[in-house]
Amino acid sequence: MSTRLTRGGRLIDRTAAVEFSFNGKRMRGFHGDTLAAALLANDQMLVGRSFKYHRPRGIVASGPEEPNALVNLGSGARLEPNQRATTTELFDGLECTSQNHWPSLEFDVGVVNNHVSRFLPAGFYYKTFIHPRPFWKHVFEPIIRRSAGLGKAPTQPDPDRYEQAYAFCDVLVIGAGVAGLKVAKAAADAGQRVILLEQSPTLGGRAPVDQTEVDGQPVETWLSAMEADLAARDNVTIRTRTCGFGVYDHGYVLADERVADHTPGDGRPKHRLWRIRAGRIVSATGAIERPLSFAGNDIPGVMLASAVRDYVVNYAVSPGDRTVIVTNNDSAYQTALALKAAGLDVPAILDAREAADGALPQAARAAGIRVLTGKAIARVKGTKRVTGVAICAQAGEGAVQEEIACEAVAMSGGWSPVVHLFSHCGGKLLWDETISAFIPDPARPPLNHDGSAMVECVGAAAGDLDLTGTPVAIPPVWVMPQGAPIQLRSKMWLDYQNDVKVSDVELASREGYVSVEHTKRYTTLGMATDQGKLSNINGLSVLAETLGQEIPQVGTTTFRPPYTPVTIGALAGEARGEIFQPLRKTPMHAAHEKAGAYFEPVGLWRRPYCFPRPGETHEQAVHREVLNTRQNLGLLDASTLGKIIVKGPDAGKFLDMLYTGVMSTLPVGKCRYGLMCNEQGFLIDDGVVARIDEDTWLCHTTSGGADRIHAWMEDWLQCEWWDWQVYTANVTEQYAQVAVVGPNARKLLQVLGGMDVSKEALPFMHWADGTLAGLPARVYRISFSGELSYEIAVPASHGAAFWAACTQAGKALGAMPYGTEALHIMRAEKGFIMIGDETDGTVIPQDLGLDWAISKKKADYLGKRGQERTFLASPDRWKLVGFETLDGSVIPDGAYVIAEGVNANGQRNTQGRVTSTYYSPTLKRGIAMGLLKHGPARMGEVVEFNTVAGGTVKARVRDTVFYDKDGEKQNV
């Protein structure tokens, strides 16, 4: 059984006991433990089930490469699926459960897949479940989905906070092992600004476990001195628990800091995403040990040799009393020595090499350990945990020579440098024959913005596996034994989580899925949550063998970020709830909230849609607001309308290019409606332009258009007509703007007092500056509703006060606030177009009967040439008309006018569509505008609109002005 040793454990604090639970079972560990170490200390060998065959799974590794020991961590709102036990720091009260089994970890019904695994080879699902057709969606797929999927889906919103931060440095070192620390120090000595990231809580990497000395000093002495040295420097920042997980272009690196994973609920952010911009990136990310492929290498108790060493040395955890070592290189001998030093039994070291005479093998022999060279594991015995191994010759076909009882197997198939960060942005790799691994090619690094090398690797990440002072050679041993028959190969796991075996890769190759990407995708090799950290090279080598090619010929797969999976909450950062997105508020926003407004988003703004009273539906409220405005007085917060000042000697000329009409001739003091088109000719914005003085205009835009149109103006001024003397300023937010609308509008302004707003002093389409209610105000006499109407702009800082004054003074005049929906209905009753309703990016002003707003005399304006193209100039375009239903009903939103017959693709022909359709409370019937082929020539004709239910609605074509055609109401 695996257990806690009575002494040792460099990372644990035996004075700080910690309680936790696994599958409801209470267990004890120590502060400093990882969850994996603590589980092993409690003899929890079986920790999960595999993806496809639901085979028993135990802990294999000790770091982020762990494919098996994934747990549901926490519960309720803090449930976190697929948490790696090997990188989870133990804390008091930790709860976790194992994954992917039913009803229990020990007894899992899904294991039936294991018993029929012969019928479920790689890609079996592509070859079956084809008939009968509906069965895929309704029978087969649900079964497959349910048996896949690993961890539990959370059911509640995440209660934790996340945040992000920016950092800048000259040199970013990722990985604080000996190599990383040395680079950091050298860069710091050179006066550079250094950031050093380390994914684990402590510095030193593998050195404290694997080395006794660094630069002639005891390793712990060297490390503390180095740590103290770096910590004392102003130009070095060290961040532990921070994984640099992705390298992006131009020196951009993302790192995930696990701020409070080990102290959940303490109020600190759970994670912090670092966005680092580095001049140079040094990847000191070490190497990951590879498993060996032998039959039964997935049985709980078979572990990486380095992991066994880590558990013994760092956590004083024994994987079992008797551990067999199997290896193709010297490093695993360290495990044997460590186990021996901890008083544990190592019955044998099986070395696939014909000879093993290095210092470590000699030391092992000297320690009395039985070293068998040229040997392999024929198969591992046991089901839910290892009970022994059968030994054979590596050179043979697996004839068993001897069986050894043991509780654990520590394997080492060599080491793969962690080249991920070098590869993320296109760095190329070389195959190193000596260590049988891909290493970064320094001649073909990823490039920075200036063309220089962006990432360099050092230490083990660069292939320097020289841990003990002697050069390391790792011969290729890809399958054990070399001549293993298919029966054994179909029991050799490459990808433990996804259940991909040697035989699966061979099958893929046999079927022609020979590109490494095809093999991966066909077998799912390397697609598990460890992203192939343990399996990729072994799988690739099997593929190369079956193809009779060299590994570099077969190639490697592309490494994509992230290096280890990153919590999505950290990537979303602070942006949730109230600060999910900026929510733009007008100065009157609080007053609207108080008045019970129902808001709608308009871009990032919130505008009141209507102001429902208790017991009123939104529709009832809208209708009341329309009628009250038409009969008495309505108040609209129009602050969101864009306001852009355009000034300069060439401003008139500029606006004449920008608008379809002429603005240069607008007299000072007057207003004019204008349309803007893009170069394609399509209508993009509209609004009223006011001439402020000789060389100043104020352009109103739609609410959504202010920033876009301002940018559009600047684009033309900076990039095309840069010699024109024009300045613009977006003053949208400087003003709170209130539309005072209805028969009592003038009366209200008179009550507020301070300005002559009579018909004579301020005629329709004029503006004036003055004082209202004691505030500086600019009053525009314009109307978007057909009523007597003023729009009043006051400084935003006085907006709330002005709104309150209007509301207060308006009480006696029947004033009510109205929202955007009432605004829409009133403008539709008047036949005014709305950008976004009548336009959709494919409509030109001519389609909307707005020819009166297009200058015929101007040689040019933006969009003019576009509008001359054949399709846009066609007489057959759909044009704007009004519609009224024969029965007074409302035409459904989005309905099309149907035409006879079907087109070549069998679709029903159409000849138009509705663009605005409302129930008009004023006229007490449905009204609509829409586009119709040859529309203006078809007045009085009855056409049919479709409904989604398959019916039709008959409507008569008419003009677009439903209300007060002669404009008597607005011209009083």
């Binding site: 993806f51 449930l79 699926p81 012969r118 080879p121 079996f124 592509y126 070859k127 079956t128 008939h131 057709r133 895929w136 969606k137 797929e141 989905r145 999927g149 961890g151 539990k152 959370p154 919103p157 934790d160 993302l254 099958l507 022609g512 020979v514 590109s515 095809h518 697609m527 949550t529 992203q531 992230p562 999976p565 919590t567 999505i568 990537l571 979303a572 950062g573 942006a575 709830g577 999910f580 997105q581 709608e600 988003p601 394609q680 929906e821 990016g841 494919t842 193209r869 054949t870 399709f871 846009l872 459904p892 939103d893 087109n903 070549a904 679709q907 159409t910 569509r913 479709n946 989604v948």
Partner: protein, 415 residues
């Protein structure tokens, strides 16, 4: 071609699956073919397949510079839907969707078409009107969609936060027979079927030049030498501009990066595909349990297959707001592809200024769902030399006339 079936698997299991034959052959190129398709992605392979199946043209080579299905076919979020607004789009995407319904049976290869339903959320009143318009258009186009209530949205996708607070769900456009497929399998299934018809799929063969005489195409220079042809189809997505340049014309196309990502797998919690265009995010759950998430495109020309990470962050913000439970899941893998965007964001299936050279490109962010329909229409165009009704509107001369096929006009986007 040996048929795939559960019986075949049982038979092979007895001999440890040693008897399976290659899914497709890997021949060396012949000196000439009747038709060469450049690009062995989904669209190219489907074009070849329908040339054979619908027109009996099997003297076809599909040449591919890398491995088949290795471009955008293998990099997308596998959404299949046809709830498009414009008639010509709806026609070709619906053709594709209906072909997907029976594609597994037709190819004898399970492409795992899963009509689990696609919903596009309406989160502003403007979006409601846009989707109502699409629903009315679809009703006339023969595309089965409906506009559903927020309550129905919640029933179909319980993990959705329909109450906002920022963008409450006001309804959704629902296409019950939309869904997902297994992207690699689509390419592999077509490749296997093409190979069975005797067509040549030539991988690791990059086209370096296009040859012509008297304004007619005569063949292509490749890394495996010159290969002659009577007709040439360019179906290479992100690299269309390069191929067009070799053929001597310029396309209304820009190449930009589009990104996607998946989470670690979790047990099934989402049975439908959800697209939330107001906040720019879409998500579904794969059969493996991964949440499959699509991001936005970069706004600059890019051939690196790497996008800018802030788009991923924007997408994830939006999705955490929409699906709060994903906050504690982990992003497992992110990647990018190069998409070719045309001037109206709709594809080109068109003759070109070069005689007997045809182009199929410009699928932008939405190509996977179109594969069978695109191949069908392209095959018809190449076989007859003139477009059929499916391809007619997608000619490359529409830009000169200003005759756009603009899908962005409704609230919809072309993912």
């Amino acid at each position: 071609m040996k048929r795939y079936s559960v019986f075949a698997i049982a038979r092979e299991a007895a001999r440890y699956h040693m008897g399976w034959e290659r899914a497709w052959a890997s021949p060396e190129p012949k000196p000439a073919y009747e038709v060469i398709i450049v690009g062995a992605g989904g669209h190219g392979l489907a074009t070849a397949y329908y040339l054979g199946k619908n027109f009996g043209i099997t003297n076809v080579a599909v040449v591919e510079k890398g491995w088949l299905g290795g471009g955008n076919t293998g990099r997308n979020t596998t959404i299949i839907r046809s709830n498009y607004l414009q008639d010509s789009s709806a026609a070709i995407y619906e053709k594709a969707r209906s072909l997907y319904e029976t594609l597994s049976q037709e190819l004898n290869y399970n492409v795992m078409f899963s009509p689990r339903g696609v919903m596009m959320l309406a989160q502003t009143h403007h979006e409601v009107r846009g989707y109502l318009r699409t629903a009315h258009a679809n009703a006339l186009q023969g595309v089965a969609t409906e506009f559903i209530t927020p309550q129905r949205v919640k029933e179909l996708c319980p993990i959705l936060n329909i109450d906002g607070p920022r963008y409450p769900v006001l309804g959704a456009l629902w296409q019950p027979r939309g869904g997902t497929g297994r992207h690699d399998a689509v390419a592999w299934g077509y490749a296997r079927a093409c190979s069975a018809m005797g067509m040549h799929i030539i991988q690791n063969c990059e086209v370096k030049g296009v040859r012509s005489e008297n304004g007619q195409v005569t063949g292509v220079d490749t890394t495996k030498g010159f290969i002659g042809c009577k007709k040439l189809g360019l179906v290479v997505a992100g690299h269309s501009g390069q191929l067009a340049e070799m053929a001597g014309f310029r396309l209304p196309i820009e190449a930009v990066a589009l990104q996607a990502l998946v989470s670690e797998p979790i047990k099934p919690c989402m049975d439908v595909v959800v697209m939330a265009n107001t906040v720019h995010g879409y998500m579904s759950q794969s059969d493996k349990g991964e949440m499959v998430i699509g991001g936005g495109t970069d706004g600059f020309n890019n051939y690196t297959q790497r996008g800018s990470f802030h788009h991923i962050e924007e997408t994830l913000r939006a999705l955490v707001e929409t699906f709060p439970i994903i906050s504690r899941l982990k992003m497992l893998r992110q990647w990018g592809g190069i998409v070719d965007m045309t001037g109206d964001r709709s594809p080109l299936i068109s003759k070109t200024p070069l005689g007997n050279c045809f182009i199929n490109c410009g699928w932008g962010t939405g190509g996977f769902k179109a594969i069978p329909g695109s191949g069908w229409a392209m095959a018809e165009l190449m076989a007859k030399g003139e477009p059929g009704p499916l391809a007619a509107e997608f000619n490359m001369w529409r830009f000169k006339e200003g005759r756009f096929i603009d899908e962005s006009v409704a609230a919809g986007v072309a993912h």
